[in-house]
Structures are given as C-alpha cells and as structure tokens.
Amino acid sequence: MKRNSLLFFCLAVMAFLVGTAIAQDHAKSDASSKASPATPLLAANSNPIDDSASPQRTRQTRRNRQAVHTTKSEQSERVEGEQRFRENCGRCHQPPHKFPPRVMAAAIRHMRVRAMLTDEDMRLILKYMTQ
C-alpha cells in the first residue's frame, strides 16, 4: 500500500514536471513570436534590390549576399549544434574536447544508437564538434 502510494506520487510528480516544462515552452515560444515580426521588416529593409545597377555589379552583389547568407547559416547551425550538444550529450556526461571529423563521425553514430539522437541532432552536433 505504502509502495503504491509512492508510485502514484512519483507518477504525479513526473506528470507535473512535463506539464510545467511544456507550459514554459509554450510561454517562451509565444513571447518570441510576438517579438519576431520586426525581423522580416528589418531584413527586407536592409536588402533593397537595385534594378538600375549593372549586370556585373548585380551578379557580384548576389554572390556576396549568398556568401553572407551561407556564413550566417553555418554560424546558426553551429550555434544550434552547440545547443543540441548541451541538451542531448550533456544529460549524461561532461562535454569532451573536439575530435577530428572522421573520429567524431564514428562516435556520433555510436551515440545515435546509445542516446537515441534524432537524425537532425546528429547532423548538427557533428557539425559543431568538428568545426
């Protein structure tokens, strides 16, 4: 009887923790969605398309824009990779130092099985750990 009560208590605590976590997450995503409308406006304003420019200049501008976009997306992927690393790998062990890419690729395949990482987690963590 005492153990059953303990079990129900544990279940109730777990349900409460999950509920709280999801509620917090909802609150955060609501707050960030309210704050985000400025971003597309800013992006649109900061990248005006100049139709009067010469074709060469336009191509160069496009290439520069692509390079900036690639760098930004790589940076954001690295940041995301670090975050995923802390969330997933940090649940069990201390962060290891970075390994060479082919070593890390083997280790991350092992961790996919052991820690049940999602495919996206694996890709981003590998990118973070090797760059």
Binding site: R3, A21, I22, P96, P100, R102, V113, L117, T118
Partner: protein
Amino acid sequence: MKPAWGGCVLLLGKGCLRTLASAVVLALFFAPNMPGQNTSQSDDVKPIPIFQGSAGFITNFDAGDAHLDPIATPVVLVPVGERWLFETRANFETDMVQLPGRGGFHGQVEKQVDYAQIDFIANKYVTVSVGRFLTPFGIYNERLYPVWIRNLQSDPLTLPIGIGPSNASTGVMVRSGFKARPQFDINYTVYFSTLITTTPVDSDRFAGGRAGIFVPKARLEVGGSFQHLLQQERSNLFGFHAVWQPMVMPLDIRWEYARSKRGSGYWLEPAYKLSQLPFLQNEMRRTQLVARYQQFFTGQLGSDALPPVNTKQFESGVNYYFTDGLKFTTNYGRQFSSIGNKNVWTLGLTYRFVVPMGPDGGRR
C-alpha cells in the same frame, strides 16, 4: 523446415515470435519515415573505426574492508558503409582484497563482453540492433554505467532489476528518437532477449520496451520502462526515470524507480558544479558536488544480486575534473539495514580515451 530455423523457433517459442513481430510492427508504426530515405549523418565525412573506452582505479572501503578495484572497459566501433555499425565493449575488472595469513592484495581478473552488437540504421528515425546489447531498462545500465560517466562510483541498489543476469540481453532491439512536436522529442526502444545459460554471457528470456519524452528547452526527460519475463515466474517489471538540468544553474538531477517481484526501489542523485562561485573559478568549474539517496524494498521472491533486506543508503562526494576525460572522485556513504549499518568509502581516478584506427582526416 530447415534444422537451423527449427532450432531457432523452438528456442524462441511462438509467443516470443509474436512479441518480436509486434515489437517490429510497433517500431515501424511509430517511425514517421519509411525506409528508402537517406540518413544525413555526416554530409561528406566518412567515419573510421575507433578504439575508445575508459579505465579506472577505484579503492573501496566497505564496512572497514579495503577493496582495490582496477577496471578497464575498451570499446571498439567499426562503422561499415553509411548505415551499419559494429560496436563491442569488454570489461576487465578485479576485486582485490587482503586474505587472512597472506600479505598484500589478491584477486582474479573478471573478463566479460558487455555488448557486441550490429546496428542497422534503417531510416532517419529507426535503428535495428542485433546481438548482445545492454538491456535498456531504466537509464543507468545503458547510459550512465561507464566509470568516466557515473557521478558516484558505487552502483545503485536497484541496478540489477530488469537488466538480466549479466547486465545484457541477447536478441534484437528496435530503437528510435524523433521530434514529435517542436516542443518535445520522443524516444523509444523495444527489444526481445533469448535465454543464454553460458556464463559470463548469460541472458534471460524476456521482452520489453522503454519510452521517454524529452523537452529540450526545459532540459527535462521523463520516461518509463516495461519488461515481461518469459521464464521462471513470468512476471512483469516496470520502472520510471527522469533527468532534469535546470537552465539557471549547473545542476543535474537524475532519478530512477524500478519494481519487480524480486524487489523494488528508487534512487535520486543531484550533482552540482561549482562554476557559479565567484572565487577560484578555474578550480571551481572543475569541481562537482554529488549526493545520492536510495532505498530498496525486498520483494516476494529473493535474488542473489539484490540486498536480502530492506535497505537505505545515502552517499555524498566530490568529483574533480583535471580534463574532460580525467577525473578524481571520492565519496562517503552510510548504509542502513536490519542486518547492520555500515560505512562505504570510495576513492578513485577515472580516465577516458579515444584512439582512431585509421586516417582521422585532421581538424577542419
């Protein structure tokens, strides 16, 4: 029917085959993507075989008796192609004690293959493992067991519940992790193990599963395990686990509960890194305070691996990380039970290593 298959069917039994088939169907049902999809593990990085593992030298003082426990657990990972991985871990461990009338410490090296499994990455979400694998009941056996990972060097009292006689199963396992909603990930594993009576690779015949929900932004994971024993008393076992790392402080809280006919119990383990202290920051960020409280209740049936009476144990200790792979660990605990209370001290050094077995590609 071919003789080999006949033997296999006899060994497994119709009920077990049904369980296995149900497990596979369930796994594929929960996998949102079907085979045929590319796994985007590495873009352009080809993995190489690696030799890794951990070693430790642990000294225990159990009720005043000193035990020297050197341990080495090498792991070999051999990736094959884009979808396969062979992984195995061996365990070499000695419990050296002082024998009456003889000087020095004496003990035999215990050798064991912890796991030797072939993993097939079926698609973006599902992995199928075949062979001898660590039984995924709760989280301690599969994720926290290596000496370089565990915060306290002693095993929880409830560890033997649900993991089989040699901590491993022999059979097939299907596992998956995927983002179910933007707010949380789901992971699950289902497995079937067959009976092996050859020590030290013995395993029980059972089928079971574990499922968990992980909320990344709250860094909270909760889950449960279930297992049905297909031999002896044919009982059901179940357990729950939780891991929480609050955002505001470097604190890990781990918890497990397990219940079976042979006993039940729980452990709760908070670990706090002192990195937030404003002085001696280089030392403090390497220092971790750990505590564990656990309680075990005997069941209807006895077990050699579990305590014979109701037991409580409290431990607290300090870990100091010289590097991420080299750790000094010490802890003190006291066990309370009706057969006598005792002190448990531990002192040790653990090390983790990784050695590539081929050209590693250098750093980018």
